[in-house]
Symmetry: C2
Subunit: 251 residues, 2 copies
């Protein structure tokens, strides 16, 4: 079996925004599907991990796109494991039209947790470190790794929303992609008419659940560059806990 | 070509709710995709209609499910045109596992509009009424048609939300499925732990756009039966316009 997984998708009409280009959230979802197909076919997928009380947890995502697939376009996602350490593995993605035209790339970092204790666990312990056999370290992924998103404490609170039924996935917490959608919703269509999202970076810190409120703090860090910090609060408690941080670059 | 279109899908993990069953919104989206595939293959799809300044507009949807596909399950959507009149066509759907097990059915009503004038136009005018050749009137769809959703004027305002970037599709207005998701978000996970949505009915009245606010008025009409009226307002105007009405039956 090839170390690189290649999967075909189509930009469904209702997964495209007002401009007829795919929403980043839906593209991100297809990347997660590609990751799931790739790992399942190679013996370390979610479905198998569930049986041994383990799960992959997405830690970071950095998506950089030159162009988004347009309505009805077929596109290909290639995905491969670039490196695997004891507690983190990095997986890359390349989105193309399958005929040499590259739409963009993505880097992601994953941890493995014990689903009972929610503690990180040793990736090499799965099938005697079999994941090491799947590493591809010579395929280029010409986008910068996600770094630490630095923000000032005085970022402005721009939105608060209640977490709802449709935000929560089978893990019982807010789906990784939903954060991306909620963050992109901080800008309106007038903004997207004038700007294209070039890069979206997100670092996941804690999980949010039904009943929590998400507070969005935004700060402009350069021209067309914004950082957003999501902090959860709950109706029962005054504690504010950081959930994730994002960095967006528009052009 | 068969008059009935049959399409295969998979219940993607991140399209499933906390219980591991597909979200109704994502299932509804796959139904719309099936409708689009079916009509495109038979010469009256959206892509062709766009070239002659026409578009299908969803007018009503009534989905009734005995069970929702579970995570990773393959399922089949069959769709066919049950009848076509000059200004409305009715299209039915059957969701099954492809091996005789039926998950549920759906009835839908569509109008055709001129995309410039936004006025209804004659469905028979397309390709000399070719749609009539695709009618299947003997395949059962054992769910009730959507009726007029009767509501009192004193239904309670339970939520107001701003329409965001991710709500708007390529038509420039709120995507039909997004209304379903927002309405289902009126109930929390504790409710869904105890109740299963048996039937969801929606009648679309007007289009809502970015900048509008959606106001959700809810009324309980019987045990486990609720009606929801969505009314749009805007920051610029005090006019309140009804956008759609829904009826939900839980068991």
């Amino acid at each position: 079996m090839n170390k690189i997984g290649t999967y075909e998708f189509i930009a469904e009409p209702f997964h495209c925004d007002f401009s007829g280009r795919m929403f980043l959230g839906h593209l991100g979802n297809q990347m997660l599907n590609a990751a799931d197909f790739h790992s399942t076919d190679r013996g370390f997928g979610m479905k198998y991990l569930m049986t041994i009380q383990r799960s992959w947890v997405l830690s970071r995502l950095a998506i950089e796109m030159d162009e988004m697939p347009a309505q009805y376009e077929h596109f290909t996602i290639e995905t491969w494991v670039e490196s695997a350490m004891r507690f983190f593995t990095s997986r890359n993605f390349c989105v193309s039209d399958g005929n040499g035209k590259i739409y963009g790339y993505c880097r992601s970092i994953w941890a493995m947790i014990d689903t009972e204790s929610r503690q990180p666990c040793d990736i090499y312990s799965i099938d005697n470190g079999a994941i090491k056999e799947w590493i591809v370290d010579d395929k280029p992924c010409p986008v910068e790794k996600g770094g630490r998103v630095k923000m000032e404490q005085n970022a402005e609170l721009v939105k608060t929303l209640d977490i709802c039924y449709n935000d929560i996935d089978i893990n019982g917490h807010v789906n990784s992609i939903k954060y991306i959608e909620h963050v992109l919703d901080l800008w309106d269509i007038a903004w997207y008419r004038e700007h294209r999202l070039k890069r979206f970076e997100i670092a996941y810190v804690a999980e949010a659940h039904q009943g929590d409120q998400l507070n969005f703090y935004r700060e402009q860090t350069a021209e067309n560059e914004y950082c957003v910090r999501l902090v959860k609060t709950s109706h029962e408690s005054m504690d504010a806990v950081e959930v994730c941080r994002c960095k967006l670059l528009f052009i």
